[in-house]
Structures are given as C-alpha cells and as structure tokens.
Subunit: 433 residues, 2 copies
C-alpha cells in the first residue's frame, strides 16, 4: 500500500501468546497494515519443537531462537519464551543486533529491565513490554503516555488473575485454597508450578514495573514486601464479608514523602470500592495522580489472545516509530534515581485480626488490654459463635491504622495469652479514601 518496506517480525516462543500474536498479524494483516502505513510480516519463528497444528504462513522456522535474534531479515524480535535465562539472552542478542524488541515477560523486565533498557537506549532501538503487566489492559501506555502530565501518587491493583480466581471461588463458594488451586490448574489459569501466582512473586514483578513507570525510578526487584494467598481460609474471607469487606490480593505502590511503599499482599477492601467487585480471572489497576484524580482499568490479565493484543499494540507502535523505550517518557535510564523504599514494618494501615480463644470470662479484657497498652485502638470487635463441638470461639478485631511493627508486637503478646490459640490471621485493610 506504500513504498515503505514491510516491518519484519521474528517471534520467539509459540505458546498461547506467541501463536495468538502470529494469528493476529496474519489474520488482521490488512487492518494492521492500514494502521501502520506499512505491512507487518512475520518472517521468522523460533520454536523449540514441531507444532504440526500451527500455521506460521511463509515464515522461516528455527529450532534455535538465537537464530531469530540474529537474523538480518528481522526488524523486531518478539520474546514470548518466558523465564529469565534463554529469554534474557534472546533480548540481549536482538538488541545488540540493532533490532527492536517486544516482550510479555514480567520476570525478565522486573529483574533485568534496567540493563536491557540501557542497552536498548545505547543501541537506539525500542523496547516495549505492554503485555508484561495485566495482559490485555493498556496500563503501561496509560500510565506512561496518557498520564504524562501527571505526578502519580499511587498504583494499586489486582494484577494476578490466578490468585483472584482462587480468592473469588473461596469467597463466593466457601471452597478451600488447595481445591480451587487444582481447578485453576485444570482450567489452564495457573501454571503447572503455580508458586509464583500464589506466593505473590508474579504480582511483585508486575508491581516493580508499574512503580518504575509511575514514579520515574529504576526497576527495583527487591523492593516489594510480599505475602501470598496460601494461608487464607474461606472462614476469614467470610468474616471479612460479614464486616462489609472483600479480600483481594493486591499490589500497592504509593508515594509517601520522598519514599515509596511497595507491597503485595491479601487486603481487606470495603465492599463498595470498585476493586472489591473485580472477580474471577479479571485484573484491575487503580491509578491516583494529581491532575486526573483516580482512574480504574479493568480487563483480562492473561490469556493468549488478550496478551497478544498488547504485544501487537507494541509492534504497531514500533512500526509507526511511536514505541517508548523503558521508563517514564523520554527520561534515559541513566538519569533515574532510585526512590527509597519504606520497610514493611514501618508501613501503617488498618488491620484485620482473627483470633481463636477459649471462651472464659476476662479473656476479652486481657486481649484488649494488650492492644490498648501499646496505643492500638479497636475499630470494631466481633465475637463469632463457636461451631458445634468446638470449645474455642473465633474473635475478629478491626484495628485502626498502626505500623506493622507495632501490630506484630501486639499480636505476639496476645498469642502469648493462655486462652489464645496460635492459629491467628492478620491481614491489612485498605480503604482507598
């Protein structure tokens, strides 16, 4: 349609995202060409093994993905392998060979992004990773471009669909964690090794990327404090609901003075907040910024086709020479200053504390005294009826904002009481007011 040369794409990795990306570029080729003002053509596919059912069109196929990264007939290398070893090598080689790079790999960007972005800047190529955070939701473009005139103060969201699916099932149907995890694996939501989904690692990777863009700081892989969802019980989700809250696994990055909070953990959210209503495998990210106020972006956080939508948006940006490399718009990696991170212990919030106590006169007074003597005040306290045949009763306490250090200290003192069992739940509460 024009004299401009086609943009030649090399795709490394043909799992669900890789195949969906190839399909979009092939099936929507005229739409993509019209929007780019040039043809976008998949010329080389790197796949470790044969996939007789895949259709790569006219593309050359190599077993060694490094052949794609080095191919002089490839302009853009799309890394959809996953992991941080081969994928890292592919990205480095591709950049060193002067190719633009696109990836959906959150672990890779969170761990090695600083190096890769500096490398891309030095090589004058574009490095894009919209698909690395929240799959099909254009949160990176929104934070980086649409909010470019804003100072962002907070990013918080549900950024792991597997964990959200599990919590939703546990909360709505009273099912146990292990049982729902098995179903999530059967449905293809969770990986064969679901560790990173349930222990918060995957969400932490995404939060690291979001925080870097939002606050204009280098990627800081070790910054987030991290709690997973493994220890949550349907019982606690149910108590939270009774109190007017939902429990969501959130990533939160928040400016506080010259420092930032970064944390990933189960969180009680008031049920009338929009984040509280995001169920199933959906992702949702809330952004607070000085000019715009508050934005919420909701959509599919995973899935081959949704993630490929973001990969293709990056490719189209590159085809139009609108790709953004790395950090906040226009600021070279070397010019960014790390922001000090507030330790978990110092971060203040309200708390949900669930105890199990022997129902004996004076026990409540003992517990509240332990809290009061540390200056911790109680917002509400509910003594639940004990289950049949159970000699212990659950007590649920909502506690006004105090730092984790103080809360942990008080909890230890409470658990040391004879009447209090060691089975406790302590969960942060965020009202987002």
């Amino acid at each position: 349609m024009t004299e401009i040369e086609p943009l030649r794409i090399g795709v490394c990795g043909v799992g669900t995202v890789g195949l969906a990306t190839i399909n979009i570029l092939q099936n929507q080729s005229s739409l993509v060409a019209a929007r780019c003002g040039r043809e976008v053509r998949v010329t080389h596919v790197g796949a470790r093994r044969d996939h007789p059912d895949h259709n790569y069109g006219d593309a050359k196929v190599s077993r060694d993905v490094m052949d794609v990264a080095r191919d002089p007939d490839v302009d853009v290398v799309v890394e959809l392998i996953g992991g941080t070893t081969v994928a890292h090598e592919v990205m480095k080689i591709a950049i060193e060979h002067g190719k633009h790079v696109v990836t959906a790999n959150k672990a890779l960007i969170a761990e090695h992004g600083n190096q890769l972005i500096a490398l891309a800047e030095a090589s004058g190529v574009q490095l894009c990773f919209e698909a690395a955070v929240a799959g099909g939701i254009p949160v990176i473009k929104s934070v980086r471009e649409a909010l470019a005139g804003n100072a962002v103060s907070e990013v918080a969201g549900i950024i792991n669909g597997t964990a959200n699916f599990i919590l939703t099932e546990m909360s709505n149907k009273g099912r146990a964690f292990e049982e729902v995890l098995l179903e999530a694996q059967a449905l293809g939501y969770a990986e064969a090794d679901p560790t990173f989904d349930v222990d918060g690692t995957d969400a932490a990777h995404k939060l690291v990327i979001l925080a870097s863009l939002a606050f204009g700081a280098p990627l800081s892989i070790d910054a987030p404090a991290k709690q997973g969802i493994q220890a949550l019980t349907p019982e606690d989700l149910d108590y939270a609901k009774t109190l007017g809250y939902r429990v969501k696994h959130l990533g939160i990055a928040r400016r506080a003075g010259g420092r930032i909070e970064m944390r990933v953990h189960p969180t009680l959210i008031p049920e009338d907040k929009q984040l509280a209503g995001i169920d199933g495998v959906l992702n949702a990210i809330m952004v607070k910024a000085d000019a715009v106020g508050e934005l919420l972006l909701v959509g599919p956080g995973a899935g081959g086709s949704a993630t490929a939508s973001s990969v293709c948006a990056d490719i189209i940006d590159i085809a139009r020479d609108h790709g953004v490399t790395g950090y906040p718009l226009g600021i070279p990696a070397g010019d960014l200053t790390p922001l000090p991170v507030i330790p978990w212990e110092e971060i203040s919030s309200e708390w949900y504390l669930r105890l199990r106590v022997t129902d004996r006169p004076g026990v409540m007074s003992d517990i509240t005294q332990k809290l009061a003597s540390r200056g911790i005040s109680i917002e509400s306290l509910v003594q639940k009826a004990s289950k049949e045949g159970d000699t212990d009763v659950p007590i649920v306490i909502l506690i006004h904002a105090v730092p984790a250090s103080l809360m942990n200290d008080a909890m230890k003192a409470v658990v040391a009481l004879d009447e209090v069992q060691s089975d406790v739940a302590l969960i942060r509460v965020e009202s987002f007011d």
Copy 2:
C-alpha cells in the same frame, strides 16, 4: 535541557479546563520537559475578558482568540472555548497557519471533525482530542493505539457525568429529576443550560467520536438515536432495582453485520455488571474487541484538572511527534467509508415496560394477549401494590428481545385498552452478555 527548541503553546479559552491546562504546564514544567525531551512553554493566551486572579506566567494575552490562532510564535493551538462557532474558526485558522491543534470540544469534533481532520492531514499537522470524550479517561488512546491490533465490535458506556450524577441521586435517594438537576447546577456539574447533558446530545457527540475510532468510519453526527433522562421517575428506577437492575444513561455503538447500531438512552443493566455500579459523576467505557475481549475504563468524565490531564497528554504526544490525527491509526480521512446505521425501530433488545392499570379482573389477560398476539414474550411480570388512595396499580413487565417497531406497536395497543393509563415507561434492557 536540550538543543531542541521549546514547543510553544497557545491556549484559547481560560475556563476551568484552560486554566488547569496552563497550571499543569507551568507547575509541572520540568516533569513535562523531561518527558518530552524539550521544554513546553505557554506563550500566548486568548481570553475574552480580564481574569485578575489567573496567572499566565510570561505568556502574551490577547482578547481576540484569532490572534493566538495566527501567532507565528505558537506551534500548538489548544482550543478550550467550547461551542461550534468561534471554536471552529480558531481550529481552522490554526490549522491553515500550520499549527498543531488540541481540543476538548466534543460538539466541534462530532459536527466538524471530518472537515477539520482532512484539513489537518492536508496541512501536515496533528489534531488531537483525547479530552473530548470522557474527560480524564484515556479512552481515545486506548481504542486507537492499545487496541490497534483488534477489530472492535462494541463500545458502550456512561459518558455524561451530569446525567449519571442525577440518575444516581434519583435511584439511591428517591429524589425527583428536577430537584437533583438544580443541585447538579449548584455543584457546577451541569451547565447553566443543561439541555445537552439531560437530553442525550452531549453523550451522542461523544458516541459519534468513539464509534468513528472504534469502527474506522467517518464521524456521523446524525447517526445516534437519542433519548434523554428527563422522563425517568424515581419510581421506575426503584422498580428496576427491585428486579435486580440499575438504570444508567448509556451510549452504545455496536457492529451488527455490515451495519452499526448507535444509540443513547436510559438502559436497565443487570446489577452484577460493572457498568451498573458506576455511580455519581464518574464515566465508564466498556470496549469489546476480538483479541482483547472486554476492557472497562473508569474515571472522571469532567472537571477542569482531569480534562486538562488529557489535554496535556495530547500536547506531550505532539511534542514527541507521536500525535495521531483523526481517525483510526494511519488511515487518511478520505479513505474511510461510512457504515450504514441501523434505524432505532429495527434495533432489537429486551424491554422494561411499566404500566398503570385499573385493577379489574381480566385486565392482565387483555394486556398479555396484546403482547402474545404480536409474538412478544414476557420474561417476568410484577404487579406492584397500589399506593394508598390510588385506584390504579403499577404493572412492570420485562420483555424478551424484540425490535423497537414491534414493541411500540404493542405498547400502543396496550395503552388503547380502557383499563390502561397513558402514563407508561418503556426502557431498553441490555445484559451485555
């Protein structure tokens, strides 16, 4: 910070959005400069009258906005006057003088966008209007850039904050339309003349713009069928709630075969759908597209600072030469083909029908017979208790999907019955499944 010349901005109109834009560019000048790789400087302000409390920095001030549009020392003209007369002239003159243009003016783009975009293309300048739809929500960037690899099938949303505020108050507090409208005016949500907010004109303008971007068709100002919120009563909002629905004023643009539905009207939405929970002055836009599935973007649809956030994003895009002119990415205005619009009468949906009838044996059978004889089937029927002293009883009927033509015909036949009063409410239901 670089050898690149500053980008010189001329702002026409210093209402809340104009002033907020100037404030952001002044107060965040180093942030904006870093992100653009060049300084962005407000050099000329067009204001019809004196505002002693405004601070325009070093900018020249002119009474005649055309002086800004013609100023050789201005690179980008930002039109924030509103209306379609002077604003239209300012845009034309600015483009003809080779300036990039940014506007928040939905009426202007919906009515004269085809002409202005063609003019901008011919002049090789960028024309941006992110702020024209849904204020601070980056919906235009999302549809145009983030979904560039998608075929969009539907855009639906709450795109008038004033109407949503009024409906929320009516629904939650049982207040009457006129009373809430007065409050909305006092709060500054509604214009002195609120006609366009309540009769659907403003929402129709925004829908025209969204549909053009989503479906790659020219702007079609006359396409949307339009109903406002003036005729809604707290009583009907309450019945809807009892049935598990919320009533929202929606703009809906949907592909159906080779044609599109375009309509703006009060709509019953199942209460578990996210759009049903968007309350107050918030805006929310749902986009369905083939690759990504479904996205929802929520945020402030109006307000000086939020709207200025989008205006500044456009300015920053232009400063980086990433601005997009007009329609779907890269496709010249002249290459677009209008999509035929499905007339309102042909558009099928479920319906909410509220009647008021004299409570006499056989009346229900007469009504249902009128519906059944036209092949209209009833999903549910609720006879409400009559209010004290009222001889009539309300009847609420949910009707399975039929076209408006058939529904109107049936309704006329029903109202012609002796026992049925002329006070009826007929509202479309959308399940968004």
